[in-house]
Every structure is written in structure tokens, then in C-alpha cells.
């Protein structure tokens, strides 16, 4: 795209597609507005009151013309609609292998946890040319993770996980804005996405304190909170074992089945009575107020690792 000062930089693989679509829509709109404008001016001059012009037999209605107009509009709409929708579905479908990063939004900052335990606030380092997947939630109100240079945005909602994936195409620093109004300092809930050369990124990762990966941190919590006294094979209390559970279909006491994804695990930690696995007693206490959103994400990383999914690890890993 033209690098006008009024045009934002394109720094992700999806940005070019969004900009092309924009250009297409601008073209259609320009043609449409010009037609209206030209006709308005032309008729306005020609049929100005007091001017002699042929005003005999003005048409009052024409179903044929109206239907042709409507049909034309429908064709054009279907085209534009399909184009936009296809790009949107690509935005929503991350590739198989991604670098996963956990994001927690709160009034008024962004917190990030990398798989290997590095943590950042309001700054996110990512490598150029690798797909990155963000798993996001909010600790308080609704926020929205918006990176204009990537043409991407998704709301960050308390009580749910939302995702956003991107592959940066340019190194550099890009704005991160909160786009959903979230209270007094909403305008200051801003940060930077720092896109680095992969080698520089590895160096950066290595230079960060942290040490404990999310899986390890989750494992420690698992023992600390007492989860392990029930949720491992051979424990005194009967509780579903977690090995191999992540990503599988779980049959509930209500007869429904759910896929054991991040949201399901989160809900089961905070509101264990909501979805009881069939054949088990509803005896698990709620951990609401005892674990932070970030700790829940660590627990999930651990539980996920029990299914053989390495889950949030570095991009170099050979996971499926």
C-alpha cells in the first residue's frame, strides 16, 4: 500500500488483505457517491426552476429499474461480503504451530506470560515471521487488545478466554491500545509490541529472569493448592484424573458433552459445581478468590502438558 502519513503501517501477514479489502470498498463507494453527485449536479443545473427544459412525461415509477438496481446491489454486496468474511475466518484460524502467550488485562495494564516463564507488563516481545497466539482474559472489566499495525483486535473479557493470532512481518515497535472503554485511565492502558529478529528474540528470552516455565509453575500450584490430593490416579478421593483430559470430550452428569478446553478448565476451577463429570460427586470446592487469572493460566498449561500437549512452549518445539 501507499505509505501515506495518513495510512497506518502494515506489519502483519493479515494487514495487506485488510487494506486491499478497504481499497476495494473505497473504490465501490467512490463510484457510487460520484454517480449520486454527478446526477444531482446535472439534474440540478438542467432542471433548475425557471429554466426551459423538456419536462414532459416524467417517469413516476418503474419496477423494472428498481429491481435491476436492487439486483445489482445484491450482486455487489455478495461479492464484498464474501471477500470480507473469508479474511475474517482466516483471522480466526491460527496455524497448527504457534508461540503461545498468555495475556491478562486489568485496570489499567497488560500483563504477559511467555511459556518459559518470562513476564512482561505493557510490552510484548515477539519474533518476526512466527505465528503467535495470544490467549487472553481480563481480571476485571472488558478490555480490548488492539494493534493497529497488525489490523487486529479482540475483546478481552472477564470470565472467558478469547484468542488472537498474528504473524508479524516487520521488526520494530508498534502501538498496543486498549480499544474497549474500561474506566478512568482507559486512554493510558497502552503498550508496545516489540517485534524482533528471531535471533534477537531468543537472546531477549534468555536474558529475562523467570526460569520457571508456565508448566512448572502450574505443577507447583497443583500441589500447593491441594489439587493433587484428589486429581491424580490412586488418590484417596475419587476425582477425574487429568492425564489425557485436555482437548478430549467430557461427558457430564447432565448428559451433555463438552470439549475440555481452556475455558472449561477455568470454569471448573472457579465454579466446580457448574459442569460435573458424569459418575463423580460434586464435592470439589471453588477456588474463586484463591487463584489469580495468571495462576489459572499456569494451571491450565500444566494440565495441558499432562495430555502430552506441550502447550505453551517456545516456537522451536516440535509439538503437533
Amino acid at each position: 500500500m501507499v505509505d501515506l502519513p495518513i495510512f497506518p503501517i502494515e506489519a502483519s501477514t493479515i494487514a495487506i488483505h485488510v487494506d486491499l479489502l478497504l481499497t476495494g470498498l473505497v473504490a465501490i463507494s467512490t463510484v457510487f457517491t460520484l454517480i449520486v453527485l454527478v446526477l444531482m449536479v446535472y439534474f440540478g443545473l438542467k432542471y433548475r426552476r425557471g429554466k426551459t427544459a423538456d419536462r414532459s412525461n416524467p417517469p413516476l415509477a418503474s419496477t423494472k429499474i428498481e429491481l435491476a438496481w436492487i439486483f445489482g446491489l445484491i450482486l455487489l454486496s455478495v461479492g464484498a461480503y464474501t471477500w470480507a468474511t473469508v479474511i475474517f475466518f482466516n483471522m480466526n484460524r491460527p496455524p497448527e504451530e504457534t508461540i503461545d502467550i498468555s495475556v491478562v488485562g486489568l485496570q489499567w495494564m497488560w500483563k504477559f506470560q511467555h511459556a518459559d516463564g518470562q513476564r512482561e507488563i505493557n510490552e510484548l516481545h515477539v519474533p518476526v515471521g512466527y505465528p503467535v497466539r495470544l490467549v487472553m482474559t481480563s481480571q476485571d472489566v472488558i478490555h480490548s487488545f488492539f494493534v493497529p499495525a497488525f489490523r487486529l483486535k479482540n475483546d478481552v473479557i472477564p470470565g472467558r478466554y478469547t484468542e488472537l493470532w498474528f504473524e508479524a512481518t516487520k521488526t520494530g515497535e508498534f502501538h498496543l491500545f486498549c480499544a474497549e472503554y474500561c474506566g478512568t485511565n482507559h486512554a493510558e492502558m497502552i503498550g508496545k509490541i516489540i517485534v524482533m529478529d528471531p535471533r534477537a528474540y531468543q537472546e531477549w528470552l534468555g536474558g529475562q529472569p523467570g526460569g520457571v516455565s508456565m508448566v512448572q509453575a502450574g505443577e507447583e500450584l497443583f500441589t500447593e493448592l491441594g489439587c493433587s490430593s484428589c486429581h491424580v490416579a490412586g488418590a484417596g478421593v475419587r476425582a477425574p484424573t487429568l492425564a489425557g483430559m485436555f482437548g478430549s470430550e467430557v461427558r457430564l452428569a447432565s448428559g451433555e458433552t463438552v470439549v475440555a478446553d481452556e475455558a472449561y478448565i477455568r470454569e471448573s476451577i472457579l465454579f466446580p459445581q457448574e459442569k460435573i463429570v458424569t459418575g463423580y460427586d460434586p464435592i470439589m470446592p471453588s477456588y474463586q478468590g484463591r487463584v489469580s487469572e495468571e495462576q489459572i493460566m499456569q494451571l491450565i498449561a500444566y494440565i495441558r502438558s499432562l495430555s502430552g500437549e506441550t502447550g505453551p512452549e517456545g516456537g522451536e518445539d516440535e509439538n503437533q
Binding site: 444531482m40 427544459a53 454486496s77 475474517f88 474506566g183
Partner: protein
């Protein structure tokens, strides 16, 4: 000339009595229309002052005029006042009230006393809300998103909701009154196919008012219940779901946009017909387009939630429906333009507003397709692009139509003519000021500036300065009609019954009309907008 002289002393709805009581207890639809006009003008300027203040703040990237908290309260005040106390009542409550009985040949609306009650509720809700917004203030934005509004905001949320809730009843009463009036009180011979398009668009608007407003009332009530009693409805910490609120809220608030624009389309149809001396091309299509917009408008609310945790498939459906709702709008634009063909066009002030309406509505509508397109909305959602888009519709188009209507029917409302030169100058100034204010915001939005930011990145400054410059021109543009219209009440030339030579029953009675509208109920024998070609 003698008829003019007679007109001046003839008894009409204005000179029948001058006491305050005769106004405040009047059940005359014309006087209630005037009461609404005075009230919404007041609210328009109150909401406008807030806009001027935050536009000034946005001149520079830093916070220098107001601090974050004040800024947030200002844009909330602006939104709440402009949406519920100016735009929604604007054309329906003022021009609709005044004109619907006149246009269909009736002496009154169906429920005159309910109409007056509606105005009192409107004022009660409006003044109460305004006092709350000024004294305590609310910082949630007019959208009241949860759980911020229900659990986190420390401002006067419940009181504001209460004010809006009360005012909702006035919307419902107005809608109900119009529906029954249009069904039951049409003059002999006034078949549905002969109704002016103004009536069709108000009929469609009334359906939305009656069907959607209760949903808003319930939704706001649920926030109050969560906030006061801690019942978990929307806040996940209490076991609720915040996205549920978004669905409820937009189920009302998207149709509400059509409440704001449909009446403007009706006004535009009337003006175009009058100043081209032509029947609106494709009358039936234009009339049915109003109904189509009202009906499809109920099915598009999900397009506010494309990035709000809604499933991608639901988003795809809502996007498609949003494209569909654009088609009847495009049909209208096409038909208005086609009406100019072989017309006898005169460019008086109302016509300038009507043409301005078409132009701004076209831009607003087309950019609506941008935000209805999933992949673009992901980027521009909650940015200035959206702000620009809906201001083109709700301020550009709707306010142009409202002012066009006020000028067009001013002789009927007041019995006087407004000064034409000033009228044209103000119309052009408003058009120019509006575009300078809001067009740069499309660019700002695509650049990525989020809405509701009082401080922003440096690179957004130039466009913000342009926008603020435009806003000051716009402010002058809006003050002009206020000044010269008031002035014309004393010094404007006396209006004859039909100064524009327009068709329509409202022009066949006095300017201003007598108390009972018509000395004798007219009998309708023709289609709307019957102009003989010779009359040009």
C-alpha cells in the same frame, strides 16, 4: 393580499391563548410539538457544549483542559443527552407530533392526553438525568457496558439509568399514539397508498419505538438490580455474563439508530417532492423500504459484537444481515436522485438541507458497509472510524433532515417566513463544518486511534486539529438558525397557507393552522405529491 391580512388576525393554535397554563396543559398535538421543540433544542445545546469541551481537549495529545475523569463524564453526558434527549425525540416528537394529524387530515392524535403525559415524562426524565450528569456525573459511556457499569464505576449509574428509563415511556407513548392515529384517524379517501412518505417513515419508526424501547428498559433495569442487590446477571465474578449485556443493549440500540434516521428520510422525501414539483419516483418502493429497514434493523444487532466474544459463525450471519439492511437505504437514495429528473428544481434552504442529507447519508451508509464487513470491522471497531460513520448518519443526516424540516414547515409552525439568505448560508456552513469535523475521523480511525481517549499518540494530532476546527464552524452553523428563527418570529414576513406551492393536506389549511386543524375535514381524492407539469 387581503387573504394575508385576514390570516394575521384569524384565530389559530398560537394566538388562541397566551397563558403559560394554556401551553403546559395543552393537549393540542401542535402545541405539544412546540413544547418538544423547545425542550430538545435546550438538550441539543447542552449536549453540544460537552462536545465543544472535549473537542478542545483533543486539540493536543496531552491532557490539558480536563482530566481523564472529567473527559469520561463529558463524552458520557454528550452521548446520553444527544441520543435519548435529542435524536430519538427530535423529528418524531416535534415534526411528527405537529404534522401527522395535519398530513392525514385529522383534528388530533388518537390519544391527546397520553401525548401530554409523554412530554411530562420526557421532561422529568431529561431534567433529572441532566442534573445527575452535572452534579455527580457518569463515566460509563452511553453504552453502559458491564461489568464496568454494574460493578466497577464509582459514578451515578443507577440514577442516570432511572432518568433514561422514565424517558423511555415517552418514546413508547409517542410510538403508540402515532400507530393508532395513522390507522384510525385518516381523512376520508386517505388510503394507505395515498399517505405522504413522511407518514410511512413515522409508521415504521413507531413500530421500533414500541417494540425496542421496553428491551432497553429491562436491560437498564437489570444493571440496576446487579448494582444495587449484587444479583449476578452480567458480572462474571457474580456468575453473570458481560456479553449478554451487549446482546440486550444492542437489540435496542441498533434499531434505535433507525429511530433516528427513518424520520429524516421521511422529511427528505417531502422536501424533495416539494422543491422539484414531482411525485417521488417509485413511491411504493420508498414506502416499503422504510418498513424493510425497520424489520431487518431488528436482526443486525450482533454486528456490534464481532470482536466481543461472539462466535465467528454468528458474526458471519449478522454481517450478511447488515449488508441486507443497506439495500433498502440505497433504494431510497436512488429514488430521491431519480426524482430530480425532469423536475422543476428550486434550491431554497430546505432543499439544500435535503440534498445535504442525501450526500451525508450516502457516505454514512456506505461506511456502514465497511463496518459491516467482518475483516474491516476487526480493525476499525471502537476507533474513530466508527465515530465518524455513526455521526454521518445521526448528526450529518438526521440533524440536516431535522433542520431542513424545521425550515420547510417553519411557516406552518410559526406563521412567519425565515430569512432565506441566512437560511442558505447556515445550511452551507453546517454542511462544510460537519464534513471538516467528521471526515478526518475516518482517517484517524483507520490509523488506529481508539475512541474515548483523552490523550493520544502524537501522529494523530493533525487530524484531530482539523476535526476541532470543523467543530467550531459547526457550532456557529448551529447557532445561526437558533438566532434568525427566533428573530423571524417577530420580524419575518407573514406566511401564506402554502408558501412553497407544495401538495399535502398540511398546506391546505392556515399558516399557522387553526386549533382544530381544518375547518372542514378534507376529502382526499388524489395520490400524494400530485403536481401538474404546468405548475412549474
Amino acid at each position: 393580499m387581503s387573504t394575508i391580512a385576514l390570516d394575521r388576525y384569524r384565530q389559530n393554535y398560537l394566538n388562541i391563548s397566551y397563558t403559560a397554563k394554556s401551553w403546559l396543559l395543552s393537549t393540542d398535538h401542535k402545541r405539544i410539538g412546540i413544547l418538544y421543540m423547545i425542550s430538545i433544542t435546550l438538550f441539543f445545546f447542552l449536549g453540544g457544549i460537552a462536545a465543544v469541551l472535549f473537542r478542545l481537549e483533543l486539540l493536543t495529545p496531552q491532557a490539558d483542559l480536563v482530566k481523564a475523569e472529567t473527559y469520561n463524564k463529558l463524552f458520557t453526558l454528550h452521548g446520553v443527552i444527544m441520543v435519548w434527549f435529542f435524536l430519538i425525540p427530535s423529528i418524531p416528537s416535534v415534526l411528527g407530533n405537529f404534522l401527522i394529524p395535519l398530513m392525514i387530515g385529522a383534528r388530533e392524535v388518537a390519544f391527546p392526553r397520553l401525548n401530554l403525559v409523554g412530554w411530562y415524562l420526557f421532561m422529568l426524565g431529561g431534567l433529572f438525568t441532566f442534573v445527575v450528569l452535572i452534579t455527580g456525573g457518569v463515566d460509563t459511556g452511553w453504552t453502559f457496558y458491564t461489568p464496568y457499569s454494574s460493578s466497577f464505576s464509582n459514578s451515578a449509574v443507577v440514577a442516570t439509568i432511572f432518568g433514561v428509563f422514565i424517558t423511555g415511556f415517552s418514546s413508547i407513548f409517542t410510538g403508540l399514539n402515532f400507530i393508532v392515529t395513522i390507522h384510525k384517524l385518516r381523512a376520508p379517501g386517505m388510503k394507505w397508498s395515498r399517505l405522504p412518505l413522511f407518514i410511512w417513515s413515522h409508521y415504521a419508526t413507531s413500530l421500533i419505538l414500541v417494540l425496542a424501547t421496553p428491551v432497553l428498559a429491562i436491560t437498564l433495569g437489570l444493571i440496576a438490580i446487579e448494582r444495587v442487590f449484587g444479583v449476578g446477571i452480567f458480572d462474571p465474578a457474580l456468575g453473570g455474563d458481560p456479553v449478554l449485556f451487549e446482546h440486550f443493549f444492542w437489540f435496542y440500540s441498533h434499531p434505535a439508530v433507525y429511530i433516528m434516521i427513518l424520520p429524516g428520510m421521511g422529511v427528505t422525501s417531502e422536501i424533495i417532492a416539494a422543491f422539484t414539483r414531482r411525485r417521488i419516483f417509485g413511491y411504493t418502493f420508498v414506502a416499503m423500504a422504510s418498513l424493510a429497514i425497520a424489520i431487518i434493523g431488528f436482526l443486525v444487532w450482533g454486528h456490534h459484537i464481532f470482536v466481543g466474544g461472539q462466535s465467528a459463525y454468528a458474526s458471519a450471519v449478522f454481517s450478511g444481515l447488515s449488508y441486507m439492511v443497506a439495500i433498502p437505504s440505497a433504494v431510497k437514495v436512488f429514488n430521491w436522485t431519480a426524482t430530480l429528473y425532469k423536475g422543476s428544481i428550486s434550491f431554497d434552504t430546505p432543499m439544500l438541507y435535503a440534498l445535504g442529507f442525501i450526500w451525508l447519508f450516502t457516505i454514512g451508509g456506505l461506511t456502514g458497509l465497511f463496518v459491516a464487513s467482518l475483516a474491516i470491522d476487526v480493525h476499525v471497531h471502537d476507533t474513530y472510524f466508527v465515530i465518524a460513520h455513526f455521526h454521518y448518519i445521526m448528526v450529518g443526516a438526521s440533524v440536516m433532515a431535522y433542520l431542513g424540516g424545521i425550515h420547510y414547515w417553519w411557516p406552518k409552525l410559526s406563521g412567519r417566513m425565515y430569512p432565506e439568505g441566512w437560511g442558505r448560508a447556515a445550511a452551507l456552513l453546517i454542511f462544510f463544518g460537519f464534513n471538516l469535523t467528521f471526515f478526518p475521523q475516518f482517517l484517524l480511525g483507520y490509523m488506529g486511534m481508539p475512541r474515548r481517549y483523552h490523550v493520544y499518540a502524537e501522529e494523530f494530532q493533525v487530524l484531530n486539529v482539523m476535526s476541532t476546527a470543523g467543530a467550531s464552524i459547526l457550532a456557529v452553523g448551529y447557532l445561526l438558525p437558533l438566532a434568525y428563527l427566533l428573530w423571524s418570529l417577530r420580524t419575518g414576513s407573514i406566511a401564506i397557507p402554502s408558501p412553497w406551492g407544495a401538495s399535502g393536506l398540511e398546506w391546505q389549511t392556515g399558516s399557522p393552522p387553526p386549533m382544530e386543524n381544518f375547518e372542514e375535514i378534507p376529502i382526499v381524492t388524489e395520490e400524494a405529491y400530485t403536481y401538474r407539469p404546468e405548475s412549474s
